[in-house]
Structure formats: C-alpha cells, structure tokens
Amino acid sequence: MKQRLLKTLVTFCALILFSGNCLAQNKNEISVYVGFVQLKEELAQSMVYRGPQVGFQYQRNWFFEKWELRYNPKLAVGVPFNRGMIGASFHFVPIDFSGLKPVYQNDNHSLRLGMNFATNYTYQFYPKQLGANMFRYTEIGIAPCIEYGYQWNQSKIKIFLQNSLAGFVSRTENVPPYFYSLKVSDFVVKPHQNMQFGSFDKYNHTNASVEYIPDTSKNHSFALGVEYIDSYFSNRFQSLNYYLQWKKSF
C-alpha cells in the first residue's frame, strides 16, 4: 500500500517537474506571501482568532495554444490570537489545477474563464483554549474562475476571482469532553472521513486577487488577495485571509 502510494507520488511529481520537455511552453513560479488570517471555529465558541500568516506557493504553468493549465500547490502557516491565547493554523493545498481559456483579447485587455480543481486541508489548534484538540476542514471541489488582464506600456494588472461550485467536504464533528486522539495518522485519515458532497448548501470558498506586474519583461510581480472559506454544513468554520504576495517566475 505504502509502495503504491510512493510510486504514485513520484510519478505525479515527475510529471509535474519534467513536463516541460514534452510541451512547447511552460513557466515556473514561486511565491511567498504574508497575510492576516482570521479564524472562527464554532467548536471553539466561535471566538475569532486573528494573526499573521505566512505561506509558500509554487506554480507551474503549461500553455497549449490558447489554453493555460496551472498547477498551484501551497502551504500556509498562521499564528492567530484571541484574548492573549495563541492558536495555530495550517492550510495545505497539495493539488490545485486550474484551466483557463481566453474569451476576449485585444491589445490591452484580456478576459479568461476557467475551472479549478483543488484539495484544501486546513488544521486549526487552540492549545491554550482547547488543549490538544485538532480542528480540521477538508474540501475537495471544483470552482469556476475568471481572470481579467489589462496591460499598458510594460505594466500589467490582473484581477482574478474564483468561487467554489461543488465538492466533497469534511469537518471536525465534535470535541470529546475527555478522551481524544491526536496521532500522526489522524492528520491524514480523519480529513478524509465522513466526506459529504454539496455545493452552496455546504460551503463557500472564494479566492480573489489583484496582481500587479510592474514590468512584463521582468519576472516578478506583486499581488494583493483575499481568501475566504465558510463551511456551514456542520459546526461552522470560517477562515478569512488577506495577503500580500510576491511572485518570482523562472
């Protein structure tokens, strides 16, 4: 089982990393972002924990004539607080594929539409408040996205908007009063238990960003974005993250 999983992972990584050899165009991009995260967990009395978050994102782009395919995994770690109590959050997106197709283009303006498929895992801990309990939210779903670009001289601005459509979601269901479990395997097994399929009746996940490319001949850009997760099918969990992102392509 482990060997099969390992082989799958190696094959997946190889396809991603060395795919440039079999495609005409491609682009790699790494980015770091700093943000301000807010978490509201019903199982933690709906107290809102707020604090800094840092993240790392990798992006791989493939271009097939007019189509663009992006692979966009990321990992973010937040350290929010409430009333002096520290919390911790981890947002892990191992799989994030977006396909975008232009629907309008002229010299300055471009508009592209597409679809995203991603697996989102968030883990939250409130150690001062609720000990060693782990709170989690899993989302495996699709989301339509739209990207508008405007270019003038050598500068460019891109506005990106994505909102969840449907998917499978899973949530922490309760906090046992006494005995609990916090094994390494819980981080993998529990997020995939009791998955429920749904759409806006279960959750909403919004990504929006504005990216500014100062000089298109250079290979870096800045983005200001917001990501909002709201799962309300079980105990409600909300996460709101504003971030400032620096991207470097190579």
Partner: protein, 372 residues
C-alpha cells in the same frame, strides 16, 4: 484609462476587505441577563427566593448582571445559588439547555472519589486509611516495589510521591487523555518516584486514579457502577456520565460529566454531613475528616488553598469546595448554609485565561456579603 482602472481596482479591494471582515465578527459570547429565577424541573430541588432565604435580591441581581455582562468573565456558563437546601437563583450565560445538558466537570471528579473512599471504608472494603496500597494491589506492587510504602491516606492527600505530571502535552495526564497507555494502573505505578511517599504534597491525577483502581478491585465493580449503587442513586444524582479508561478502570481523577444542579447534590451531601433527606449516606466523621485540613495551604503546590482528603478548603472564608479544570466549582459555606455552583468553559491555561479561583471567589465573596 490606467488611472481609472487602478482607482476602481483599489476601491473594489478595500470594499471587499471591509465587507468580508464584517463576516468574521465575534458573536456575543454570553446571553444578556434575563432572570435568575429557577425553573421547576421536578428533579427534587425545592425552589425558593433569595429574599425568603435571607439574600439581598437587588444585590444578587447586580451580581448576576455582572456575571452575564462582564467581558472578563467570558468563560462562565452557569451560576447557581442554594441556601438552606433550596435553590434560590440560577442562570446559564451561554446555553440555557445546560440546565439538563451534562458538561465535563473535570477534577470535581476527585472530590466524588474522596466521598466514595469514605463509603468504602464504612462498608469494609478498605480496612484503614493508613493501609499500604500493597495490601490491595499485591501483584502490581510486586512488580513495582518502590510504590509499596504508599498508603491510601497519602493518595487522598496527593502525597504518593509518584512522578506523575498533570501539565504539558507530554504530561502523564495528557497521555491518559490520549488513551496511550494500554493499562492505566501499570502506567502510573511504573512511573518513577519524585519524592518519598508522604513527604510532599504534589497535585496530580495519578493518585485519585489509583484509589479508583483499588476500589474497583475491592468492590468487584467499576467505581462508576459501585458509585451508582451506594451514592448516586441515593441522592438523586441521575443526569451524568463517568468516563472509563480503556482498561476498564473508572477515571478517579476526572471523567464525570453532569449538570450544575447535580453537582449541587454532592455539595449538599457534604453540607449536611453525609445525610440526604434524613438518610445517612456517608459517615459524618468521614465528611469531617475529608474536609478538614490535612495539608496546609503553605505546602500546597497548586492553588493557595488547604487540602483535605481530595477536597479543597479555604480556611479564611470557612469554605470547602470542589474544583474542576476551567472553573467548575461547588463552594460550600456551612456557617451560612450556602452552596454556590459555577461552571465555565475549559481553558487549558486555566490560571491565566480561565475562570480561575480568584475570579470565582470574587463572585462567592460578593454573594456571601449579601447573605445574612
């Protein structure tokens, strides 16, 4: 054109941020105060009014308002006042259903274990409080001879000397909460000794859990079942659960989930020297022993309060009390025939962030002052 686009973009981003921020406003953590008048649940509690029982109603209302509205007391969940064995005031700050919905009362379980130890002695399951635990756990002590000198009394006084640590992620309490050891008795007895037994008070969950194991061995029943038979059924303590470790031993240190009204039954049993509705459930001598100072507060490493047999004592106030993690308390003031119950949200950093004992006693003192 560029400037217009940049302006529109900036405006949109700012408005979006403001709109989304408002989505994550924290709700009021407590309900506004309405009334402290208790509801008749036909659960055996006689209801009365503060005035009839000699408590200033206006001042009590102010205390309840403060309890509901103070931001400093964001953790509190309930406050119940009993006088002369009657329930005179009751309010739930977060969820009114908690009037019948059990919550974890954590270390208040220890005080129940203390009472059950007295019943076990009375019924002959334990010969003497000074007996070595070797007498009751011979096979286990043969495997862990360094624990042979520990007595029942030392367990009741947190003086076993066993290196059991309540706090921290790697602490022994957390290992039990994570249900990592397969056998809780072997796990505790297998720990090293921090002090020689009887030498120092050291507050820990391990000692009362050993008592539970001993009572279980002696009575032939889980402490949960035996407690139901000899204690709970006799005082109308019905709405509860008691966690059992995976090896079958009832948790003697924490593990009871119950309601504030049920907690008050334990408090009144002690207030009335072991008697309930005229029936003697616990030997009054044991109640006196259990609630008299065995460890003066200067030697207590946890609260700055004195300790009896698993019971806490505030000598200055003339109060004996049950205390569970996060602010679960039953305060008994025999001189005024007064029992006060509080429950609160558990916070792991109880002293710093929780409804700690100082905050609790502030409320208790205020009620005490308005009680004639």
């Amino acid at each position: 054109m560029e400037k217009i686009i940049l302006k529109i973009t900036s405006f949109t981003v700012i408005i979006s941020c403001l709109v989304l921020t408002s989505c994550l406003q924290e709700p009021d953590l407590k309900l506004p105060f309405k009334t402290y008048v208790p509801v008749n649940l036909n659960d055996g509690w006689e209801l009365s009014t503060p005035a009839q029982e000699g408590i200033n109603e206006t001042e009590l209302q102010n205390i309840y308002k403060y309890y509901h509205e103070s931001g400093d007391l964001w953790q509190v969940r309930s406050l119940l006042v009993f006088r002369n064995n009657k329930l005179v005031a009751e309010s739930y700050t977060k969820d009114p259903t908690e009037i019948t919905q059990p919550i974890a009362i954590w270390s208040c379980t220890k005080q129940v274990t203390g009472i059950l130890t007295g019943i076990a002695i009375e019924q002959g399951f334990i010969d003497d409080v000074n007996d070595n635990i070797q007498k009751y756990l011979p096979e286990e002590i043969a495997r862990h001879p360094d624990k042979g000198a520990i007595t029942i009394q030392q367990l009741l006084q947190m003086e076993s000397g066993i290196a059991f640590e309540n706090g921290g992620f790697n602490g022994e309490s957390n290992q039990l909460l994570l249900a990592k050891p397969s056998n809780s008795l072997e796990y505790i007895l297998g720990l090293s000794m921090l002090y020689a037994s009887g030498e120092h008070f050291y507050y820990k969950d391990g000692d009362p859990h050993l008592i539970s194991a001993i009572l279980q061995r002696q009575t032939g029943k889980t402490m949960k079942d035996w407690a139901e038979q000899v204690l709970f059924s006799k005082i109308g303590f019905k709405n509860y659960d008691w966690a059992v470790y995976k090896d079958g031993i009832t948790m003697g240190c924490f593990g009871i989930s119950t309601t504030p009204r049920e907690m008050a039954r334990i408090g009144h049993l002690v207030l009335n020297k072991g008697s309930w509705n005229g029936q003697q459930i616990v030997n009054p001598e044991w109640i006196n022993e259990m609630t008299s100072v065995k460890i003066p507060k200067e030697k207590v490493n946890f609260f700055e309060k004195s300790f009896g047999y698993l019971w806490w004592i505030d000598e200055d106030r003339g109060i004996v009390f049950m205390a569970g993690h996060g602010g679960q308390h039953v305060f008994i003031k025999p001189a005024k025939n007064l029992v006060i119950v509080t429950t609160a949200d558990k916070t792991d950093e109880y002293i710093q962030f929780g409804f700690n004992l100082d905050k609790s006693f502030d409320i208790v003192d205020r009620i005490d002052r308005i009680t004639n």
